[in-house]
C-alpha cells in the first residue's frame, strides 16, 4: 500500500504545535533559572546539595509549602517522563530489529519490547540502590544525554535530507542549517565538558 504524502496543512499544524510546545518548555527553563537566581543566588546560596535546598527557590510564593509544591512538580513530571524514556528505548530496539512492538500488544505477544522497558526501569532502580546523591545523579544524566544527542542529531539530519527516504518531502534548507548548527553546538558542549573534566577543576 502506498502511503499518501503528508499534506502541507498537517505539516504546518505540527510546526505550530512543536513551536508552541518548545516555547513553553524553554519558558519554564527560563523561569526556573531566573527564580533560582533571584532567590537562592541572591541569598548567597550558590550550591544546591539537596532537594530541600532546591525547593527553597519557591519560598517567596509558597512559604512553608514550597517543599510540597516542589515535590508535586518533580513527581508529576517524573511520572510523565519516565514512561517516555523507557518506551522510547523499547521502540528504538523494536524498530531496528523488527520486534513486535507497541503498547497495544499483550505482554506475551511482544515479550522483547516489554522486557526492554521493564529492564530499563529495573536497572534504574538498582542504580539508585548503589548509591547515590540524587542531585548529582540528576545532573550526570543530563550530561550523558548531552553526549548522545549530537550523534543522534547527525542521523536525523542525514535522514531528513535524503530524498529517497523522505519521498521527495525533505526538510527545508533553513531547517537543515539550524539543525546542523545545533549539532555542532552540542558537539562543542560535549567537548567543553570533557575538557573541563580533564582539567580536573
Amino acid at each position: 500500500v502506498r502511503r499518501r504524502p503528508a499534506t502541507e496543512a498537517k505539516l504546518v499544524d505540527r510546526m505550530l504545535d512543536v513551536g508552541a510546545g518548545t516555547l513553553l518548555s524553554n519558558l519554564i527553563m527560563f523561569f526556573i533559572i531566573l527564580t533560582a537566581a533571584l532567590t537562592l543566588h541572591a541569598q548567597g546560596k550558590t550550591e544546591i546539595a539537596t532537594s530541600r535546598e532546591a525547593a527553597e527557590a519557591l519560598r517567596p510564593l509558597a512559604g512553608d509549602f514550597a517543599v510540597g509544591l516542589y515535590a508535586l512538580a518533580i513527581i508529576a513530571v517524573g511520572l510523565l517522563s519516565i514512561p517516555t524514556l523507557a518506551g522510547s528505548a523499547g521502540y528504538a530496539f523494536g524498530e531496528a530489529l523488527h520486534w513486535p512492538k507497541g503498547f497495544d500488544n499483550k505482554l506475551r505477544d511482544a515479550v522483547s519490547f516489554y522486557a526492554t522497558i521493564i529492564l530499563s526501569i529495573a536497572i534504574a532502580v538498582l542504580i539508585d540502590f548503589l548509591r547515590i546523591d540524587p542531585i548529582q545523579s540528576l545532573f550526570w544524566s543530563a550530561i550523558v544525554n548531552g553526549v548522545l544527542a549530537p550523534f543522534l542529531l547527525v542521523g536525523i539530519l542525514l535522514s531528513a535530507r535524503d530524498p529517497r527516504i523522505m519521498k521527495k518531502q525533505q526538510s527545508s534548507v533553513p531547517a537543515q542549517v539550524i539543525v546542523g548548527l545545533t549539532t555542532v553546538a552540542m558537539f562543542a558542549a560535549a567537548g567543553v565538558m570533557f575538557y573541563g573534566l580533564l582539567q580536573g577543576d
Partner: protein
C-alpha cells in the same frame, strides 16, 4: 502559504479518512507512554473537523502546550536550579537561544515520522548499517536508563521530604508502579490526567514575578556575553564564592538537558507522525 484555504478544505473535506486513520492507529498509541502527544493528536482527530484558521490553530496548539511543559523532567528542573543558584542570571541566554534549535530538531523528527510513516529507529536502518543503529539503540537505552535512575532518585527524594521515610521505598514504589502500569494499563489515560499536575511548574513563573526583579538587568543578562564573565556575575552580589560546579560541566548539563528532551521527543515526534 498561498493555498492555505485549499489545504484547509482538503483537511476539512476528508473526515472519513481521518476517522478511519484514527481507528486504525489508536491501538498503536493507546498506551504508548512514549507517544503521549501522538495519542493526544490521534484523539484530537476524532473530533469533527471545524473550518477556520483560528480553530485550527487552537486545536494544533492544544497538546503541544502541555507536553511542552512536561519536557522539563526532574533532571532538567534540578540542573536549571543549579545553574541559577550558582551563576545567577549569567546562563539565562541559554533558555531563549535553545528555543529555535529545539523547535527545528523536533519539527525535523516530526516531519520524518509524518512523511515516512515509520519510527525513527526504522528510518535510520534505511540510511545506516543495522549494526550501527543497534549500537545507537544501546546508547539510547543506557542514557535513558541513567536518566530514569536520576528521575526516580529525584522523585524518591521529593516524596521522602513530603511523607517522611527514606527515599528508597518510594524509588521502588514509583519504579514498580510505572512498569506495571505501562505493561498492564493504558498509561496514556493516566498521563492525560497527570499532565495537568505539570502546571505546578508555573509556580516558578509566579515566583519570579513575586520577587520583583530588576527587569532591565534581566534583559541585559539575556546577552550571551553575560556568560563569558560568570565570575563578575557571581561576585556582583558581593557574596563569597563557594566551591562551584565547573562552568563547563554546567553548560554541558544544560545542553544535555535540552539534548535529553530532543532524544526523548524523537520517538514521540516520529510516532505522532504515524497518525498523519
Amino acid at each position: 502559504m498561498t493555498d492555505r484555504t485549499t489545504s484547509d478544505r482538503q483537511v476539512v473535506d476528508r473526515p472519513p479518512l481521518r476517522a478511519t486513520g484514527t481507528r486504525r492507529r489508536v491501538p498503536d498509541f493507546s498506551c504508548a507512554a512514549g507517544s503521549l502527544a501522538a495519542w493526544e493528536h490521534a484523539s484530537g482527530m476524532t473530533k469533527p473537523s471545524q473550518p477556520g484558521l483560528l480553530r485550527r490553530v487552537a486545536r494544533a496548539l492544544g497538546p503541544g502546550l502541555i507536553t511542552g511543559a512536561a519536557d522539563d523532567d526532574p533532571s532538567g528542573i534540578v540542573t536549571y536550579s543549579m545553574a541559577g543558584a550558582q551563576h545567577g542570571m549569567a546562563l539565562l541566554w541559554l533558555a531563549w537561544i535553545t528555543w529555535p534549535l529545539m523547535a527545528a530538531v523536533q519539527m525535523m523528527c516530526a516531519r520524518i515520522g509524518m512523511v515516512t510513516g515509520k519510527g525513527l529507529g526504522e528510518v535510520l536502518t534505511l540510511k545506516f548499517p543495522r549494526a550501527v543503529v543497534v549500537v545507537a539503540c544501546c546508547a539510547l537505552f543506557l542514557a535513558n536508563t541513567i536518566n530514569i535512575a536520576a528521575d526516580l532518585a529525584g522523585m524518591g527524594d521529593a516524596a521522602s521530604m513530603l511523607f517522611g521515610l527514606r527515599p528508597y521505598p518510594y524509588v521502588v514504589l514509583f519504579g514498580a508502579g510505572i512498569a506495571f502500569a505501562m505493561v498492564r494499563c493504558r498509561y496514556a489515560l493516566i498521563a492525560a490526567v497527570l499532565k495537568w499536575l505539570v502546571l505546578s511548574l508555573f509556580a516558578y513563573v509566579v515566583t519570579a514575578f513575586l520577587v520583583h526583579p530588576d527587569w532591565p538587568e534581566v534583559a541585559r543578562d539575556l546577552r550571551p556575553d553575560a556568560a563569558a564573565r560568570p565570575g563578575d556575575v557571581a561576585d556582583r552580589g558581593g557574596h563569597p564564592r563557594h566551591h562551584h560546579q565547573p562552568l563547563s560541566l554546567l553548560l554541558a548539563g544544560l545542553a544535555g538537558g535540552r539534548g535529553a528532551n530532543a532524544a526523548r521527543t524523537l520517538r514521540r515526534a516520529a510516532s505522532a507522525g504515524n497518525g498523519g
